[in-house]
């Protein structure tokens, strides 16, 4: 199926009779690109699915407020990322009294083939990424895996490009250190 442009999608979404159909197309078109954003952060599919659904509900509520100051994908990415970070925070609070830390829990998920498909070096790499704080982790994901330009990451996170470069630089150093220590 052909991908629709932002303009075409917004026309459908703003037409009351085609709104439901337009929203359906929006979900179909962008979900496969947004899913890794939440999955990388939350590791577990069920949590990722929760965050995805919450993000789409939020999009549905706020679609009329979208002012086209950025691309539709950037706007959706920001909402999805915020939902994933919010769920991560909630899970962290919930695990406060648990014997296992949230990072340890996520690392355990990584070791299960149900949750992660990569080889051994990929697993070690993912565990190293897990040691980063959530926001820095999301910056690393955007830059390393999604290869987004800093300007776009700045748009999504509302942070300056300089701060993002510094954050990414730090993240890379931490990951390197973790991997070399583990070797």
């Amino acid at each position: 199926m052909r991908e629709l442009s932002d303009k075409e999608l917004l026309e459908k979404l703003r037409d009351p009779s085609g709104r439901a159909y337009g929203f359906n197309l929006l979900v179909r078109q962008f979900s496969p690109r947004l899913y890794p954003v939440v999955r990388r952060l939350l590791i577990n599919h069920d949590d990722a699915d929760d965050a995805m659904q919450n993000a789409w509900l939020s999009v549905h509520r706020n679609i009329d407020k979208f002012q086209e100051n950025s691309s539709l994908f950037t706007w959706l990415y920001r909402i999805t990322l915020n939902e994933a970070l919010a769920l991560l925070k909630k899970n962290k609070r919930r695990s406060f009294l648990s014997l296992e830390s949230e990072t340890a829990r996520l690392a355990r998920y990584l070791e299960s083939p149900v949750y992660f498909d990569g080889d051994e070096s990929a697993l070690k790499f993912q565990k190293a990424i897990l040691t980063l704080p959530p926001k820095q982790r999301s910056v690393f994901h955007m830059r390393y895996f999604d290869e987004l330009p800093y300007a776009r990451i700045a748009e999504i996170t509302g942070t300056s490009e300089g701060a993002l470069k510094a954050s990414y630089h730090q993240a890379v150093s931490k990951i390197e250190k973790y991997i070399h220590a583990a070797d």
Partner: protein
């Protein structure tokens, strides 16, 4: 110096492949079924928005009814308890007083008609050594002077005589002095 724009996989590990490090198994047909599940949640949310109003009406009515019943139960006993509470300004506040004798007496003698004061005055004998007619004891101007109501609790077993009341008005004694 590390260049953040030029990070390759080998920097982290000689075996690392970026693609393999981003492999997340997804349930079959997950993306196909997602729009439908989201639509279901949107419908559920819409239905939930309407439900609370309907849910709140009956508990609200029940709570209001209970509040009214409680208020009535709390007010009724209070009415009885203040039955013998009267004011000496000439008007009694509560006709449901248990002491019917006081109530009836005050009704008769202190009605809004100012003639009751004259009746009282007619019965007053002029004080010794004074040539003033008894009717002047409660002169019209004195009757018009507003008297601030003072609540007095009369014990139920005390019989109030006309003399006691006249003495009260004449001397400015307090009810405690009379009783």
């Amino acid at each position: 110096m590390l260049e953040p724009d030029n990070i390759d996989d080998k920097r982290f590990s000689k075996d690392l492949d970026k693609k393999s490090a981003d492999k997340w198994p997804v349930p079959v047909n997950y993306f196909e079924s997602l729009p439908e599940r989201i639509s279901t949640r949107i419908s559920a949310q819409k239905a939930q928005k309407h439900r609370p109003l309907g849910k709140l009406i009956w508990p609200g009515i029940a709570a209001a009814a209970v509040a009214v019943v409680l208020a009535v139960l709390l007010i009724l006993p209070n009415d009885k308890s203040v039955g013998n509470r009267v004011t000496v300004a000439g008007q009694h506040q509560d006709t449901s007083a248990p002491d019917k004798a006081i109530s009836a007496y005050l009704d008769k003698e202190f009605s809004a008609d100012s003639s009751s004061y004259n009746n009282l005055a007619d019965n007053v004998k002029p004080p010794a050594g004074r040539n003033k007619p008894a009717a002047n004891v409660l002169a019209p101007e004195a009757q018009q002077t507003p008297i601030s109501p003072v609540a007095v609790d009369f014990p139920e077993d005390v019989k109030i005589t006309e003399d006691m009341l006249l003495e009260y008005f004449d001397s400015g004694l307090t009810s405690e002095d009379i009783l």
